[in-house]
Amino acid sequence: MKRLVLATTALGLALLLMGGVALAQETTGKVTGRVTDADSGAPMGGVTVIVQGPQGEDATLTNDKGEYNFTTLPIGTYTIRFYAANTAVQVEQQGVAVSVQRTVRVNAKIAGTAQAAAQQTYVITGKAPTVDIGSARVGAIFDDAFTTNVPVGHTFGDVIERAPTAFIDGSGNVSIAGATGLENQYQINGMNVTGLRYGNVEMGLASHAGGTNLPVEFMNQIEVSSGGYQAEYGGAMGGVINTVLKSGTNEWHGTAFGYWSPYWLSGNPNVVLPIGSSLGGVRKPDYDDSIGVEVGGPLIKDKLFLWVGFAPRFTDTHVLRETYALQEGTTNGMPNGMPQLDASGNPIVQRQDWTARIQESHRTYYYAASLDWVPLPDNRLTLAILGSPSFNTELKNQFQVDPYSADPRTAVEELTKSNMDVTAHWVSKLYDRKWQIDAMAGMHYEYFYDRSPYADLNNLNQLSIGGANLWDLEHATGCQPDAATGFVPCPVAPYYFAGGVGEIDKSDAFRWSAELKSTNTFQGGGRHELKYGWHLDLGTMNFSRAETGPPGAHAFIFLPGDGSYSSQTFFELPPSQSPVQYTSNALPQTDLVNSPYYVDALQAYVKSVSNAFFLQDSFSPDKLRNLTVNAGVRLELQKMYGSDGSGIFSTTNWAPRLSAVYDPFDDGRSKISVSYGRYYESVPLDVAARYFAGENYVTAAGSLSSCGVTNAYNWTGAGEFKQCTPAGAGATFNGEYAQPNLTGQYHNEIVATAERQIAEDMTIRLDYQHRWLGAIIEDGAGPQGNNVLANPGNVSQSAIDAINHQVAQAQAIATANPTDPVAQANYQNAQANLSAVQALGQAPKPERTYDALTLSLNKRFSKQWFARASYTYSRLIGNYEGLYQNETNYIAPNGTNAYDFPELYVNQNGPLPNDRPSLFKVDGYFKQPVAHGHFLFGLSFTAQSGQPRNYIGNLVPGSPYQLVFLLPRGEAGRTPAITELDAKFGYSQPIGPKMKLEAYIDLFNILNQQTAIATDDNYTYQAAPPIVNGTAQDLKYAKDFSGQSLTQNPNFGHPLAYQTPFNARLGLRLTF
């Protein structure tokens, strides 16, 4: 009886003390297990199970099958104690690691003979299992220990590339399992912080806004789900990155930290020198420093917890633009006006003293705070606020503008970005914890303002000058043309940017989120965990877009060097007019250059409303408790609105998910799992802001003489185009048409996993992942030249029927109003839309098939060391890259150039840019006690296949945007394989009972590998059709559209970027 009282008291005490057991699903994990009699093996019901973790304790009783479950445990390391009724025996399992959304099984056996013994504690000496036996998810988890001891980057965005199948792609974001870097979803404390416009996260990519990123010092845990996740999650075709902020505990803890990356601890980077141009450049670091502090603890013990963090970061770099003059050749000892070539046929260049230094600076002020309130047991409210305002001066890098071929002042942008997120999350458990309710509300905010730091350049038109040379433009030393032969030593190819800074973007974007979820556990032929819920994301963006120039004369000017000019200006049509009146030449498009149509800036206010509903059940049958079947379905409804408030498109996406997880030995130390799921993209706002609200521009062209300008070099950008008489004009109208009954962009996935704990602290795992595309959303042009947003290669008959209905309606109106030009125009427009959608429907079906086999080894920290290694063999084959187009460096989700014209479809099928067959990673650290402190050695190594290379031509001569695959994708081989070895050395010394000081140095790219990571794939700047199924030997017979043989770009195949050279970081960390 005494023992029973003891157990009951322990349970009651635990219930009173229970603290952080009710956090939201997104930030917590589960522990399950079974208690049996060690002698008979019979299940033991009524055993009190207490978990003790960072925010207090929780307790439960085993049922008549001896089973217990803990859900929504805050992540951390726990001790689990089992108190058997009618006995004083206590069995204890220490070191149980609870991770985000993972289920670990901890079984216990209580010896029958011991039940009569005196009160005694048995400690299970074996380590707790770490295998997630609750789901078929694949991915990786990075905890505070990992980010502290392994040499990794500054932010969680930098860390996630350490997951198997992940690497940073050309978008500057992390590609996961074959998707582009724009296809992930990022969550912080359950709030979707993904970039509203592009679907990215802020990772230092120039000229673009992004989602919220925070320093690793703020994060408790970073979970990367690469696939196989359940119906509760959606809106991503790459991975879901679920991060959890640190939070306060019952003791005050914190760290003060700082690091310093000085320029003198950096290697000398390779210079990028495009052959055929006289400009090269190199970016060099000055310093990268940060200081910060994070601290958390109880405001009211067991009731109210606070955590705050603040970490400003200061980074300065500079770009040296250097001049390389061509050497003039000779004939019979006399200059011949031709470049001197080397043995390879490349022009010989000589470095000149003419250089320009472009200073870059980045100032980011990271902050975050969270407040946990536990008013009653089983009820918790979590509030969080976080943000990352940043102020930057940097080289502009939009639409592949080569910063090294631009005027140094023109190439620089002043960029202000400010992200802020606020969340509130309430969790309650009811009815003996069999019903849990999660309610969440939050706001994500992005501010973006991109302009020139030089006031005068905001008031000049940007000039793109073709055929320019540095002597005429800048009188660069050593670049004076040879007066006798006309030889120009310093040409700038293909264009040179001067005048104003170009496009200025400014935007305010919000995401308002709300979520309500219910979790019910019950018995019905087994144990069920039924979860259902609703999630709302309301995204808005107020977007202003302008070319620079004097008021009333904003424009982008192209001066090709042949005595002509073209101007690009924004305009707006009055409501009484239709674009077709202009495209049908009923009204002259040259009118659009001037008042009343011309506008300095285009304003767009677009929004997206996404509602998601899900229903899922995790079921473990009574007779097979080591099997878990997860079945669910997710319904995602997204509606996008244009600037006029009308709907652009709406999608209704059904995403089934099914998985089975089997623990063959019922010990939580192994599993076999398989899953199937369909995953839809959440379409970012960029496509609405540009194609449905902000792409009203007109290009007018004529001769320079019509402008009163005799020489392109005399054009200053002060609005000269207003003096011109254009010979013609072509307009691009916003208000692109969207196909009715649009199918959401999605892929299907199958994941199979086998995992086994092969040693006490080590598991080995084999994952197979297969993904294949279903439908995509992309824009493209129809036979009449109008652009539509559609499902290329996959237009449904219902969509065609709906458009036919629209055509019939427009025809009826046009017939009834034969003299109404708008009615006639709308009828023509409807017909053109039908033709365009039909044409896109006949386009090749989009394909992106990913297959990966990953073998991984995980050794958790014990016996002084930790290690994680993975090797992935994968292939990514298809004709559609995703939301980012690598060849053009084009960040345009659902609006890339892939389906712009039929001419671009040919030769597209092959290894995609993110096809990296081999990917090997090792991360680890070793801690050696020395005196009172300890020595730390951390290591990170990556080896990766190179990127597929191509033979590219242009659709329009000299235009690098619409690219033709002259030969099948991947025909040019690959860039070299990349390896990088990073290391960390540190020493930690206690300086008080609860305080220690650690000094460390991170060494990145120790071997100073500077392998080319990107090459110039533009084989020719001429417009040429593709060679179907051709090989390199067929190139010499290829002709451009005028029948001329192709001239090879001399820089073809040469590096455009190299690995970052060796660099180091010195750091101090005070932990208390």
């Binding site: 199979a752 197979y768 292939r875 039929p902 001419e903 199924n1029 067929d1034």
Partner: protein, 381 residues
Amino acid sequence: MKRPLRRFEVIYLAAVLGGGGACTPNNSVKPGAPVLIQVSIVQAGSPVTNIPPGEPACTAMAGDPCHTDAATTMCQQAATSVWCQCVANPAPMAPGPSCTDAGAAGATGTTDAGGADAGAAGGMGGAADNGDASPPDGTWSCNPFSTSSSVMFVFDRLLDGEPLVAADGGTTTAGATMTAGATPIVYTTDYASNGSPGELIFGSPYILNDVRSVGPNIFVMPAPALPAASVVTTALVPSMVLAKDGKTEFTDNGQFGGGMVTFATAPFSASITPPSPPPLPADAGACAAPNTTVALDATATITFTSLVDPTALMSAVTVTAGGTAVPFTLTSMDNLNVTVAPMDMWPANSTITITVAAAATDMNGEMLGTPVTQDFMTGAN
């Protein structure tokens, strides 16, 4: 001893790694003989005319030498095997509206003088089309081709390019012959590997109009032009038109005469289009007399059926005003349409006469034979 894989394991691995996997696509050229899928006659400044597969013969009827329908652009004359282009004769012109009708269309009928019907000048009529020699309206003419014609042979797959290029990288005649009976023709061949017959490559209306981007092709071009009034035969040389294996000769599947095409070229002729008088102002009224005089800087156009050298033509063209020579210039972008412009200004209030002498020759030295003359009136200063 290693345990061999069991059968089901092998099947499973094969299914996982191969069956549904991301296999590298087969992007190699399909084996077998290249198939000749299109033969086209390409005339400068005119739409491409494709020879219909299967050698359709012209169905001549009385007064209708190329009885056909709108869907057929070419047919082959049964007796001679010569291809000609079927051109519909213009429908009878409706009488112009009377001056009591609304609108200002009255000028149309009154100013359509001289060479206004020059569009049919390339027809059977020989010299300047006077309208009387054309077949009856509603019928079809079987017209010869311009002397600027080239022949294009298009294949369904890539060819072995090596036999089709000159060893020194210069011009070549490899792969095809071009003859005109006993008359030697200077010509070149050019193989283009790019283009796609199955796609709307640049020949689509979307962006550009490149006639050669419809697929791998051999282009046979006269240098500079075909002889006028001749029967020209162009034929592929099978031993040089090979598959990528370097051995397999092409096939036409019996559709294109084994890769040979014979067609006639038009006689050398010229027509002169005078400058058009300026239109009447919009408020001139329906019964106002149309303008009959042209501006002093207006230009006329001489259209030839064979390529000419404008510089060499200067001695064969005269421009006079009342018998007095007037200084002028000749320019041409395509060597077929030659623009006649005053050196300064035409004399005011004068009748300007442009004459192309019978001794005018095309680039092959063919003489015009008959002079061509055209007058127009200039207005006041």
